[in-house]
Symmetry: C2
Subunit: 211 residues, 2 copies
């Protein structure tokens, strides 16, 4: 797990609950928050640098701040990430005045940038369109609602679908949007997602595609 914020810890906790071993990676090896998390989370949990976490994982989650994700992944390095599924949950969000904007969008996306920077990794964009608690416990939002995935490698996406099912997502609620280029669509949804927050009055909301 790369990233020690709310998103990274929430997914890391869920992975532990599911019986996986997790290394929570921070910019520096001696990040006290990450160490404390590992101490409290039990024997299957550990902490380390981004590179140590990247080396540890069979599957790597990018939950770093979107605007710094490529740098964070570079500090892991191509070699350690090669051949691995890299689930990109980050959004390249930035505040511009009172509004939410993206550092990359429209004709490019963070998902694509990561895939381009690490061509031997199997990048799957997923889970980036909702609050992190819903990512790992979709039943917090009642009824049917959707999670999007995209990526260039079909087998990698199958593995991610398996993981999402373990997180509690019914397979019929998982929408595969195609190649990693579709990251543009899910990342560009974020400004609307942010705008909806005060209107809905809770962070526990999601979208459902109805037809």
């Amino acid at each position: 797990m790369l990233g020690t914020g709310m998103v990274g810890r929430t997914i890391a906790d869920k992975l532990l609950d599911l019986g996986h071993e997790v290394c929570l990676g921070a910019r520096s090896q001696d990040n006290s928050g990450a160490q404390e998390w590992a101490d409290l989370a039990g024997p299957s949990a550990r902490s380390g640098s981004f590179a140590q976490a990247g080396a540890f994982g069979e599957m790597v989650f990018n939950c770093t701040v979107g605007s710094a994700s490529v740098e964070a992944l570079k500090s892991v390095g191509q070699e350690l990430l090669s051949g691995k599924i890299l689930i990109d949950v980050a959004n390249p969000l930035v505040r511009v005045g009172d509004a939410t904007a993206l550092t990359v969008c429209n004709t490019d996306s963070l998902g694509e940038q990561i895939q381009q920077e690490f061509p031997s990794s199997l990048v799957v964009k997923a889970l980036n369109t909702m609050n992190c608690q819903i990512m790992v416990e979709p039943s917090l939002v009642p009824g049917t609602h959707n999670v999007f995935i995209c990526g260039d490698n079909v087998e990698a996406k199958k593995k991610v679908v398996e993981l999402l099912r373990a997180f509690g997502w019914p397979e019929s609620d998982i929408i595969d949007l195609g190649g990693i280029v579709a990251s543009r669509g899910t990342e560009m949804y974020l400004p609307l997602w942010v705008l909806l927050r005060p209107t809905i009055g809770t962070a526990h909301y999601n979208l459902r595609i109805v037809s």
Copy 2:
């Protein structure tokens, strides 16, 4: 009605059904498609240039191609649009390679550009997140689903809500996102909307915010 494409005609037809008079405006006054529409649509329908349609309407819909909307509105001119509610349904979509992109986004939007260009008009962004048939007949998609509005003038938004209710939208399904700056959110949703089309297999889909 500015714009003689599918969206403009569909909304124009609905306005006629509701008992309004409509002038369908085209780039040129003698647009044969617009004339034919008016001839077939009965005595409450007429066609004309953008300027004639802008002069005719108490309320003006922008359903022109998004990338050409500001130019189309300039050909109507500030004076004819002053003090009027201007409902902007357009999206600044453009194809870039195989992907859908926007000609303006992220730190600006078409809705904002129009409001800035026509400061004495009351711009309300609405209906731009779905197929045009659903705009005027929301029951084509079963159950609850949402339409977004935004704009800087509260009274103008109230009038638009009234109109949307006449179109068939339950008031509880109309989400007011705030000022016209929120156009960024609804316009930037479009790439995801376009990506969903082949996955869903029909144009009759929409999103529902669930919480």
